[in-house]
Symmetry: C2
Subunit: 196 residues, 2 copies
DNA sequence: GTCTATAAATAGATAGAC
DNA sequence: GTCTATCTATTTATAGAC
């Protein structure tokens, strides 16, 4: 929520910056590059954003809002734990496919974004993401579907990292569709890779 | 392999730089900070290394050499595919525990390290790491132990990311030992999280 | 709303004294 | 082998004309 709530140029800055941040890293991307990608000179950026950090913040805030909207839809369905876990896997993969740059920034720079002053709302969103997964896992344990000998947090972190890091290798244009990846991912984590 | 093959200070620079690179990122770490951590002034760094990038290269080269040494030990054992896969999981987790900073740099900056000129030997090492996993997976498929409906590369990437990213959350000082994590990790990926 | 011009700080790296 | 001093380039951000 900067000075002009929305405009074509404002959106172009966010879009171009996200691509650059994902490819080169936030720190290695200069405001001049962001400006060039948006078709303006660097001084003009400061009409839309107070600083380079403010651009990063806006990108991540929007991204987390969209992600949490999808997660809330998934847990609103009254299906069993296995279906809901698959729903979270699929929602995450679809989000990564729809917003790969933002997902990559989220993976690469989250640690530093959380630490820095003013990162409280990001921290809160990240916590809600985690809690959504843990609730589904706990539900599956309580209903006797999931194993009790694996700590829920450990399982959560394993599947979380495996799912999200797919943004680094999954190619939507290939012959292996995202729906298949979602099914394979759920099946490996729930049924295992050994033949029964 | 810089000018003085080895010295206390040389080692101190590598150690301090690894910690800083892991915590702040390579780009955000200045040569002055590296020098301060090693107890010298920035000018003195250039007696040991030609550039900041040369420090990063040396850290990653040593790390990958140590990792591949462990991997070669694992695949040299003539056990079945399940045991060898567990061996790779355990070797990776132990490496991450022994060299957490280097592992974090490997995860965060590998993409950029590979791309830049002179990164061919790193690329070759990364390829050998991948091939080690794929060989074990292929062996398990051929011997009828692993599923054939999941693409080997997909399974490799899922378990690879889950295992390596544990460096971001695993705490060696906690009550959950690394050996248990290795067992849980192997079991989740091979047997699944659902109760049988 | 965009540009020009530039301020102010910081970066990697070098030269030479000690 | 280390430090002092500094060069050169780059970076974020600002001020003010248009």
């Amino acid at each position: 929520m900067s000075v002009p709530a929305e405009s074509v140029r404002y959106a172009a800055i966010l879009r171009g910056a996200a691509e650059l941040f994902a490819r080169k890293g936030v720190r290695s991307t200069t405001v001049r590059e962001i400006a060039e990608a948006a078709g303006v000179l660097s001084g003009s950026l400061y009409h839309y954003f107070a600083s380079k950090d403010a651009i990063v913040d806006e990108i991540m805030t929007r991204y987390l809002r969209a992600l949490l909207d999808r997660y809330r839809e998934v847990v609103a369905t009254d299906s069993d734990a296995r279906a809901r876990l698959h729903g979270l896997v699929a929602a995450s993969l679809e989000t990564a496919k729809a917003a790969p740059h933002q997902t990559l920034i989220y993976q690469n720079e989250l640690r530093r974004l959380r630490q820095r002053p003013g990162g409280e709302h990001i921290k809160a969103a990240v916590h809600e993401v985690q809690q959504t997964w843990l609730d589904v896992i706990e539900d599956g344990r309580a209903s006797g579907v999931f194993r009790r000998d694996i700590p829920p947090r450990v399982f959560y972190r394993l599947i979380r990292d495996a799912v999200w890091l797919s943004v680094k290798w999954f190619r939507p244009e290939g012959s292996y569709p995202i729906e298949q990846l979602a099914r394979d991912c759920t099946s490996v984590f729930l049924d295992g890779f050994v033949l029964n």
